[in-house]
């Protein structure tokens, strides 16, 4: 039931709109079917499956908007939900920032749905986890991990003739392997739309290797170091830029993209000229929906080009007020990389620190985008092009903007998952000089 075909969704939405008496009406419909297994101590701890669907009706009289939602789809319920939205609209205060719904749009066909993922069975889930646990057990180590998969559809239609539909699948996997005595820890994470690409065995082997190699970590002095950040570490830093591209915040003076004296930093060169960041819903390695929640098409957008801020994202009201195109914020982000592998980046490093993962990232100062957080699950000292020994974890205090100014090298791009937001990105490993570690942690 939760996953409806395009025709089924269209028929249902048409029926809902036929009940509308409002000036404008827009209906959003969605359904998900998701499953997960959580394991720890080499054994499954929890596992479950959730199916849900929902229909949202937005009705407007003039600039007064009412919203009502329901998860029952019989005729009486559908009539009721439309009436309720209209009732709420009549009672609502007028919103001076109300923007009329969009008319018909053209969207490219998305690549977000893979049938194999939608067809996942409890057995496949448990087999994937079994392979992971087996690797850890054979190494005499202890695995804890999480596997989740989602199949979903979204559709929308409004009284101005807009119709949009999309289906998507995805799976995220992460595993932490610890040595039996708890003195070493390693991590790996993978995200795909296609579950057949998920290799839990290899991922767990990598995590196990990091765990074993991180035993007997030495303490070195905090300070400024050249670092090589694996893509999983790059993700949690850079997404703080991706999340904050909103023009209104910048125009209002409360963003790292606000300019002293007024205005924004759009068009300014903010970071190293080798930095190119964009979003592209049709990228085969990171497909996302070709339309966003209010029906705007999602297109390829360049956010930072040769170090220059090329675009800011706009809510429709603010774009109208500013007389610019209402570019929606990205659903995922891609950073262009180089040709070197992680091993080659290490080989070219005289002295430095390999950071495989960062954790608990928080704002310290939103104005300079200063962030704090810690290294975790495998941090290593590099000298003369080789990993010399594991080192104890550091806390860092650093701004991704400063970091992208101190860029030394970019490696080969790969798909990675943010442990903070669960978002997937295409990012390269980065080599950065003068990265600020402020204190040591004994945590393993």
């Amino acid at each position: 039931m939760p996953i409806m075909s395009k025709d089924e969704a269209q028929a249902l939405l048409k029926k809902v709109l036929s009940y509308s008496k409002a000036d404008e009406c827009e209906v959003n419909l969605s359904g998900t079917d998701s499953g997960n297994i959580r394991y720890a101590r080499n054994s499954v701890s929890t596992s479950g499956r959730v199916s849900q669907h929902q229909l949202v009706v937005s009705s407007a009289f003039g600039k007064k908007l009412g919203i009502a939602t329901i998860n029952e789809f019989d005729d009486a319920s559908l009539k009721k939900v439309v009436e309720r939205a209209e009732e709420l609209a009549r009672l609502a205060p007028e919103n001076p920032e109300y923007v009329p719904f969009l008319g018909p749009q053209t969207y490219a066909e998305s690549k977000t749905y893979i049938a194999a993922t939608a067809a996942i069975t409890p057995k496949l889930r448990s087999d994937l986890v079994e392979q992971s646990i087996k690797v850890a057990k054979e190494a005499g180590a202890v695995a804890a991990g999480f596997l989740e998969d989602n199949t979903g559809f979204v559709a929308m239609m409004n009284s101005k003739g807009l119709f949009a539909y999309n289906t998507s699948t995805n799976t995220n996997f992460s595993v932490t392997v610890r040595t039996a005595d708890g003195t070493g820890s390693g991590y790996a994470t993978r995200g795909y739309n296609d579950i057949t690409k998920l290799d839990t065995k290899t991922a767990t082997q990598i995590a196990t290797q990091k765990a074993v190699k991180s035993v007997k970590a030495r303490a070195i002095e905090p300070g400024k170091y050249t670092v090589i950040l694996e893509p999983a570490a790059v993700a949690v830093l850079l997404e703080n830029i991706f999340f904050r591209l909103d023009a209104r915040q910048a125009d209002e003076g409360r963003s790292f993209l606000s300019k002293a004296g007024g205005g924004t930093r759009l068009g300014e060169k903010l970071v190293d000229e080798r930095v190119n960041i964009y979003s592209d819903p049709l990228n085969p390695d990171l497909p996302t929906s070709t339309w966003n929640g209010d029906g705007r098409p999602q297109e390829k957008v360049s956010w930072i080009e040769k170090g220059v801020i090329k675009n800011l994202s706009y809510e429709r009201y603010w774009a109208e007020k500013k007389g610019v195109k209402a570019v929606p914020g990205p659903d995922a982000a891609i950073m262009e990389g180089g040709t070197k592998s992680l091993e080659e980046l290490i080989a070219g490093t005289k002295k430095g620190v390999l950071v495989t993962r960062l954790w608990y990232i928080r704002d310290v100062d939103p104005q300079s985008l200063l962030l704090t957080g810690l290294t975790r699950d495998g941090t290593f000292y590099i000298e003369n092009g080789r990993i010399q020994y594991p080192i104890k974890n550091f806390r860092f205090n650093e701004s991704p903007i400063i970091m992208l100014n101190n860029l030394e090298e970019l490696g080969k791009v790969e798909r990675t998952v943010s442990v903070e937001s669960n978002q997937n990105y295409l990012l390269p490993p980065l080599k950065v000089r003068d990265f600020t570690f402020s204190s040591l942690s004994d945590a393993v």
């Binding site: 101590r41 596992s47 479950g48 205060p93 966003n292 209010d294 928080r362 975790r376 004994d442």
Partner: protein, 507 residues
């Protein structure tokens, strides 16, 4: 960070995007919200369908949670209402033990057929995963309570207060802040009502009606010239209370050092918004802190988060055992430290209790989400680690016979597991006022309200910010500071920080 506006917004209209948290469920009108969906008898009948289905399929234990979660959000910005929304999420979660292994399934189709299917799925999942199980799940005994109920002791149901009254109050608070020069102000009220029905194969049928309330705001001050900006958040707290929290009774106000006003059992949002704008101006002009070693005097409005992160989380048994190793991490409070019965967590005057019964608190309920009656217990006594937080399938590992009653699930659709109760630092034997504490500090910082926070995965190294920072010089407040964040004085831990910090505790 998890649910920033970066979430895939597909499936949400422009209107729906106005909801501050879209994950909370469906939108309903107020009249419907206030109408009970079904009585306890109907819920019992539905729960029995699940219990009978799973038993017939070989489950040895089952619990069923029928949850109706109601939320109301009222959000404003400067002079206008941004959104008023009522959401409802209704569904059933079924947890079973079959072949000695947990299984869980949830559905929002709360019909005989929907429940039966979910019950079958839960058992199938348990059986599929039992091949990994090293040892069968062992549940601590729990009495059958029969048919019982519990309700948060509220005076005035916030859901019943007309939306207009709420909007007017928020806009009045905004007006005060703007009048005092604020550049921007966002204010909101967030109401929760969890109608939770729990039934287990052991014969408990527990009907609970839980209320929570959080009013608040953020005042922003932007200095366009210098390009700097600061935000001052509200000094309110999330509470297990009704609308009476906004009474702002004079006896609940506390005048603090640096001319601040703090709030205890009730809150004055107009007064606080006025103060916020004035303080935000001062925050911009404040001098930047000199990095170095300082004594800290921490207000409870700040301290709660430091406690939550560095006492609450490391005493969660699931972390200690490694169940959270892949995400939140493990804990420095390892089993051997507890077993030694002499691990010094803090100085002798440090006592922390876990409590799910404290009236008016966020965590207070009658029974937890696996049907265990709630209670209060010691975590740190006279500075020594004496216990953890554990639920039914964990306490046997501690050689204890009773669950601590701290199992929780955020929704009917999520499986319940061990979650932190209220964790509180107890007053000292001869309590001091903040002023008295400050008078004994030569070089220090007085910190009010929680801000930025980050801590490692075993809870050794933390870094906390705050909202207001006052410099202490020779026992006196010497003006406001900015750019303050603190880390433990020794690299090896929160433990030592607690020792250093706990020279004195206020009442």
């Amino acid at each position: 960070m998890k649910r920033r506006n970066f979430i895939q917004m597909a499936g949400l209209s422009a209107g729906a995007m106005m909801l501050p948290f879209t994950g909370f469920g469906r939108e309903v009108d107020l009249a419907e919200l206030l109408t009970p969906l079904m009585d306890a008898k109907q819920k019992k009948q539905l729960a029995d369908i699940a219990l009978n289905t799973t038993r017939s399929l070989g489950a040895t234990y089952t619990d069923v949670r029928i949850g109706r979660y109601l939320n109301q959000f009222v959000t404003t910005r400067e002079k206008r209402v941004q959104g008023v929304s009522n959401t409802e999420s209704f569904g059933i979660g079924i947890r079973v033990i079959a072949n000695g292994t947990w299984g869980f399934a949830a559905t929002n189709q709360v019909t005989a057929d929907g429940i039966k299917k979910a019950a079958e799925k839960a058992v199938a999942i348990a059986k599929a995963n039992s091949k990994f199980q090293k040892e069968p799940v062992k549940l601590a005994a729990n009495p059958s309570y029969g048919e019982v109920s519990w309700k948060t002791p509220i005076v005035k149901n916030a859901f019943e207060v007309p939306v207009k009254e709420k909007v007017d109050l928020l806009l009045a608070a905004n007006a005060k802040a703007l009048e005092k020069g604020a550049s921007f102000v966002n204010s909101q009220m967030f109401l929760i009502n969890e109608q939770k029905y729990f039934a287990s194969s052991e014969g408990s049928y527990i009907d609970q009606d839980v209320y929570r309330f959080q009013p608040g705001f953020t005042v922003s001050m932007v200095d366009r010239q210098s390009g700097s900006f600061k935000t001052r958040s509200a000094f309110s707290a999330p509470v297990g209370m009704g609308y009476e929290y906004l009474d702002g009774k004079p006896e609940d106000k506390i005048s603090g050092p640096g001319g601040i006003i703090l709030y205890n059992k009730s809150y004055d949002i107009i007064e606080d918004a006025t103060m916020a704008a004035e303080q935000a101006k001062e925050m911009i002009a404040a001098k930047s802190v000199e990095p170095g070693k300082y004594d800290l005097v921490l207000e409870p409005s700040h301290m709660w988060l430091t406690i939550h992160e560095s006492v609450g989380h490391p005493t969660e048994l699931d972390r200690v055992l490694g169940y959270e190793a892949n995400y939140a991490g493990t804990s420095f409070l390892t089993f051997d430290k507890w077993q030694s019965k002499k691990f010094k967590f803090g100085s002798d005057i440090v006592n922390f209790v876990a409590d799910k019964t404290q009236v008016g608190s966020l965590g207070a309920v009658g029974y937890d989400d696996e049907g265990v009656k709630c209670k209060k217990w010691d975590l740190i006594k006279d500075g020594i680690l004496v216990n953890y937080q554990a639920i039914r399938d964990q306490v046997s590992l501690l050689g204890q016979k009773e669950s601590h009653g701290c199992c929780y699930s955020q929704s009917w659709s999520d499986v319940q597991f061990q979650r932190m109760p209220n964790v509180s630092l107890q007053p000292g034997k001869s309590p001091l006022t903040p002023e008295q504490m400050i008078s004994g500090v030569e070089k220090g910082i007085y910190i009010v309200k929680d801000g930025s926070f980050s801590i490692d995965q075993q809870r050794y190294n933390f870094q906390f910010g705050g909202v207001l920072f006052f410099e202490i010089k020779n026992g006196k407040i010497a003006g406001m500071l900015k750019d303050v964040a603190y880390q433990p004085t020794h690299r090896n831990s929160g433990i030592l920080a607690w020792r250093f910090a706990m020279n004195a505790i206020t009442g």
